[in-house]
Amino acid sequence: MMKYLATASLLLAGMYLSTGPTLAADPGITDTEIVIGDVEPLTGPPALLGVAASIGHKIAIAEANNAGGINGRKIKYVLEDDGYVTARTIQGVKKVIDVDKAFAMLGISGSGQSIAVMPLLEKSGIPTVIDVAPVKFLWEPPRKNVFVVGQSYEEGIIHLVNYLAEKNPGKKWGLITQDDDYGITVRDGFDTVVKARKLNVVYSGNYKKGQQDFSSDMLQLKESGAEVFLAGGIIGENIAMMKELEKLNIKPVVGIFWPGRVEPVLKLMGPAGDGIYAVDYVEPFAGPAGKAFLEKAKGLLPEAEIKGINRYSMTGYAAAKVLISAIERCGKQPTWACTISELEKTRNVETGIMAPISFGPGVRFSNQKLQIMQSEFSTLSFKPVN
């Protein structure tokens, strides 16, 4: 009996040693395919960012697949819609991990949604690169398997307000923010500079998410005599504010944040949108890098998807490039552990659309370089300014 057991044990040990890496392989990987999952808002107003981010992921994936895939394995992209509803984000991430057996994840939806799925991501251990809504909670404290490409909302606002304060010394300031976590972050960044530079804030408003008419808010801004205005809306809100300012016949210096730095917005603002300052860490589409990105996308995606490209496509593309490159460096038998280790070793990865991306031991945030841009109504574009 003992003899049989010993023989069986030896056989099993032999089988394990000979096929070890295959048996130990993580989910989402076969000899021909590797699955990358994503959960984004594809319906409702935030689809503007979710669809665009997923297009960015698709561009990077198509580019890799056209070049033969990751070491011969084609990438399969599994995309779930959460409608910007946190409960659905959690459900979507669970589905992508447990049912679709994703090997790695990109995305994920908005800031609140990413925060909500963090325990799930940590528990599963799946390599994840977040690119849509970078907020500090996502990298502080650093989680082993979660990496964030971008810049924090707070730093972005600090950079923008500092720039505007330097260009407009001694002016009166106005601010309006949304009544949610996004608005709080914008306000925190603004307040940091207000304290440091002792800015004279004469108007401070707070609007309810979903508000569409800003007539009384902008009238209050006018009455306050504000000369520099930080419009803390996202898309439709900023358009409505600019149109109200035009109606009220005033033109303060206006700053907007990157979630609203979407070119079609300028057309809708009309001449009122000319000269608006914005901050971002991706290149404007009017520049050579932006044009090259669009050209690349045209060769890889159908026309209908090209129309959905905006700045979030660039952040999505960059994150997907970093992830694909890390998996690729793991060679023929990539594992979660190797991918995480290679992501950590990411140094100065060039994407062509933002500053080079780096992570490091205990560093899970790429901390992208920021730049100020200004809108030009005649060309419906944003251009970098000094």
Binding site: L42, T43, G44, P45, P46, A47, L48, G50, V51, G83, I176, D179, G205, N206, Y207, K208, G210, Q211, Q212, D213, S215, S216, D217, L219, Q220, E223, I235, G236, I239, A240, K243, E246, K247, L248, N249, V262, P264, V265, K267, L268, G270, K307, G308
Partner: protein
């Protein structure tokens, strides 16, 4: 004074849009006893169709208006025939839940049929600014106020003098007796859905003219619903006026109390009014609350 006047004018302009959508709620309630929770979404769909006509067929204001009205009629009739008529005789709760389901489907359809980007409805009218002293108002805002007033008068005359209007009132009062009198309740219901879709759709088109089209537009329904509760769920004209009251109150609260109060003011107002008149300012006493 100028500050007050600017607040009131802007309030009347947005209130007229709420009023039109609120009238849409009331027309359906008056004729069918049902609260249509997809009203905001129907408004949005009509506005998107108007935009599609303006960008693909013609940007002529008359072509867009005719096309949008026609589309709104078809939308109302299709919803009534396919979704609501099979629910006749079912518990009110189930029917209301169907309208909620319909709202979700229509809301999601925006991204499937169109996209998530905001769009401007350009018919060569409505965006220019008229200045009276230092008060500025867009021509689209003037037009929506005039349209609301004209529709209030037309609907009053319709219910008061036309055969169909009297038939609709009869069905609302007692559909079985109306049936015995030879009035087809299903036809009246279909007409109510079509009329509601057109009236609310006009509100949506004016909103798109003065502001923009976006998938968030369905939220207008959430603002118009308090207006119809305030005016009276069964009072079509009262709902229109309720919209104006909500618009003015919101703007005055936003202008004098603070931005945060803007969204709260309308609801605070309906709480107070409903405590005094539970059936709304112009509503009738025995309405069934859903």
């Amino acid at each position: 004074m100028q500050y007050f006047m600017q607040l009131v004018i802007s309030g009347v302009a947005i209130g007229a849009i709420y009023g039109l959508i609120a009238m849409g709620f009331a027309v359906i309630y008056k004729s069918t006893g049902l609260v249509n929770f997809a009203q905001g979404e129907m408004t949005m769909i009509t506005a998107y169709i108007a935009w599609t006509i303006s960008t693909t067929v013609s940007g002529n204001v008359f072509v867009v208006t005719f096309g949008a009205i026609l589309a709104a009629i078809v939308l109302g009739l299709v919803i009534e025939r396919i979704v609501m008529r099979p629910m006749l005789g079912e518990p009110v709760f189930a029917t209301v839940m169907v309208t909620i389901g319909l709202a979700v489907i229509l809301r999601s359809s925006i991204n499937f049929i169109w996209d998530a980007y905001p769009h401007g409805l350009d018919v060569g009218f409505g965006r220019s600014i008229v200045r009276i002293g230092s008060i500025g108002v867009r021509t689209g805002q003037i037009a929506v106020i005039v349209t609301l007033l004209a529709l209030l008068a037309a609907i009053w005359a319709f219910f008061r003098y036309s055969k169909i209007g009297v038939a609709m009132r009869a069905v609302a009062a007692d559909d079985r007796t109306a049936l015995l009198m030879g009035i087809s309740a299903t036809r009246v219901h279909a007409l109510a859905w079509a009329a509601s879709s057109v009236i609310a759709g006009i509100g949506g088109v004016f909103f798109a003219l003065s502001y923009d089209l976006s998938p968030a537009m369905f939220q207008l329904g959430l603002k118009a619903f308090p207006a119809t509760i305030l005016g009276g769920l069964d009072a079509v004209l009262g709902s229109g006026l309720g919209g104006l009251l909500i618009g003015i109150t919101e703007n005055l609260a936003g202008g004098y109390v603070g931005s945060g109060m803007k969204e709260v003011a309308g609801f605070a107002m309906i709480i107070v009014v409903l405590m005094i008149r539970p059936f709304g300012i112009f509503g009738e006493r025995d309405i069934e609350r859903v």
